[in-house]
């Protein structure tokens, strides 16, 4: 069964003369348990697709289906129990005045969980942060630790589909390796489906089964990662990207 199905998605920003057509007729589907990558350069519209799925960017037209159900324009609460997102910059995605305990506790509370204390501790363990981090504030954490907290927050409602928006591009390479390993483990342990946006082909090659290459808001090619590894891109732009990243 497909976890996520997107058909003819268009997203516009701005009005009248300044209107930008950020995503043009994007269509793809992500199977349950799959890890799907969206690759492109800045401004190619890859992040916009994620924001459109979550309702953070209003869609122009097109259809988004999650688990076979069309997603209504105003996302209902249960939607966020299925779909969660991890943002690019861990320095910007945590509230500067909220401790880790508050961040996770509030998330759990909003999703109607009762045994919040136990779950907070469980989440911290899941993402490889010890209990000693529980009452710290974001400014007391390193970038990698913050991103772990952000991942714990996304995991809190026990989602099935995780949208990853360049989850490691703001981190050092050694920390990137830790976070990518963590994400791979979590996917296995929690049977998650990933939709991952990245500008780094090697990261997508490592994490994903299939990927779509985007350019100027359009998906120019969808291929298997094995094809990517064999350098068998068909579209000239994907070939160009491949050349640049090897």
């Amino acid at each position: 069964m497909s976890m996520l199905q997107i058909a003819g998605l268009n997203v516009w920003f701005g009005a009248a003369r300044n209107r930008v057509h950020a995503v043009k007729a994007a269509s793809f589907s992500v199977a349950e348990g799959e890890s799907f990558g969206l690759v492109g350069e800045s401004g190619s519209g890859k992040s916009t697709i994620l924001r459109a799925i979550t309702g953070l960017a209003s869609t122009g037209s097109g259809q988004i289906e999650v688990e076979g159900q069309p997603v209504p324009a105003r996302r209902p609460k249960p939607f966020f129990k299925t779909v969660q997102m991890v943002f690019q910059d861990p320095y910007a995605s945590l509230h500067p005045r909220h401790s880790i305990d508050q961040v996770l506790g509030e998330t759990l509370h909003l999703h109607g969980f009762k045994d919040i204390d136990n779950r907070v501790m469980q989440l911290l363990d899941d993402v490889g942060l010890g209990q000693k981090f529980r009452f710290r504030y974001p400014h007391q954490l390193s970038g990698g630790q913050r991103q772990r907290v952000a991942i714990a927050r996304a995991l809190a409602p026990e989602p099935k589909l995780l949208l990853l928006d360049e989850p490691t591009s703001a981190l050092d390479v050694s920390v990137q390796a830790e976070i990518l390993n963590l994400l791979a483990d979590l996917r296995q342990n929690h049977a998650l489906t990933y939709l991952m946006v990245s500008h780094d082909l090697s990261v997508v090659g490592h994490m994903c089964n299939r990927l779509a290459v985007m350019k100027d808001g359009e998906i120019v090619e969808i291929m298997d990662v094995s094809a990517l590894r064999r350098m068998e891109a068909t579209h000239p732009y994907s070939q160009h990207l491949l050349q640049a990243s090897v």
């Binding site: 390479v173 050694s174 791979a184 090697s202 990261v203 490592h206």
Partner: protein, 285 residues
């Protein structure tokens, strides 16, 4: 090879509530007419090293060194006024994000002309001609139009080329580039680096290239200093970077995912506390 810059035992310290924090600990290196890479992770002190050379560390930060010699002049002995003549004139710096380095309310042409006239008593028309020539030198095709444009009308890659053009106008001896391409897309990165490379070679300048990207540095530089916790832990020829011996360098290289060598798990860097105890390796050529 003649030495353009020689740094001996450089320390950068910041007072904190827990006492002095050493951002750079006893770094020594020299720079000839070459491309010297400084790599390390965030917090390794690589950017601080670049800034300390130009004495751009703001108080309460403290810069200490036995000497920072530019030719025969010790930069540490210079007054702030003399330093201003060094900055831009003899050593230029290109920062990570061109958006923050260009004045948003001045046209690009005016900024380049101003930068040029600050360092030489050229007439306006001569400065204009020189600016056009510089923009063409960084492969900007419609230089006339770019001269009239404002920074926000430029893309990131374009902005960075303009910055490079601006920094090279006074013909400095040394260019310090601090993550000049990190804000750019991969395909643009290459172009900007090629331009920088060509100009540096043509003019026989020394280049200090500060980056977190090992592969980029391995490709682009002649010699590499690897920094960890404020110290240089290893120095090697750039083309032999992949044969580096220090466990930190190896760890960094191995933690990168690679398209040609798929693995289930990436290698995670195990940090040995002893690395930050060993004295800094000398980066003299």
């Amino acid at each position: 090879m003649d030495t353009l810059l020689d740094v001996e035992n450089l320390w950068v310290k910041f007072p904190t509530r827990q006492g002095l924090f050493d951002a750079v600990r006893g770094v020594s290196f020299s720079l000839g007419r070459e491309r010297l890479g400084i790599v390390g992770e965030s917090g390794s002190g690589k950017s601080m090293t670049g800034r300390a050379i130009l004495r751009l560390i703001r108080p309460p930060g403290i810069v200490e060194a036995d000497h920072i010699k530019l030719g025969d002049d010790n930069l540490l002995a210079k007054s702030e006024k003399e330093m201003r003549a060094v900055r831009g004139q003899r050593i230029s710096m290109v920062m990570q994000d061109p958006k923050f380095s260009l004045n948003p309310v001045m046209t690009i042409g005016d900024q380049i002309i101003e930068a040029y006239r600050l360092h030489s008593a050229a007439s306006k028309s001569k400065a204009h001609a020189k600016s056009l020539e510089m923009l063409r030198a960084v492969s900007i095709r419609d230089a006339e139009r770019v001269m009239r444009a404002y920074p926000h009308e430029m893309s990131g890659g374009m902005g960075q080329r303009i910055m490079i053009a601006m920094m090279l106008i006074p013909n400095p001896e040394i260019l310090i580039a601090d993550e000049p391409t990190s804000a750019l897309d991969v395909s643009v990165q290459r172009q900007v680096l090629d331009i920088m490379d060509r100009l540096v070679k043509e003019r026989g300048m020394g280049l200090i290239f500060i980056s977190h990207d090992l592969n980029l540095v391995a490709d682009f530089c002649d010699r590499v200093l690897i920094m960890y916790a404020g110290r240089v832990v290893e120095v090697c020829e750039a083309d032999k970077l992949h044969e580096a011996t220090h466990p930190y360098t190896q760890g960094l290289l191995n933690s990168l995912p690679r398209l040609d060598m798929p693995t289930d798990r990436l290698e995670v860097l195990e940090r040995d506390p002893a690395w930050s105890e060993v004295p800094s390796v000398s980066g003299r050529a």
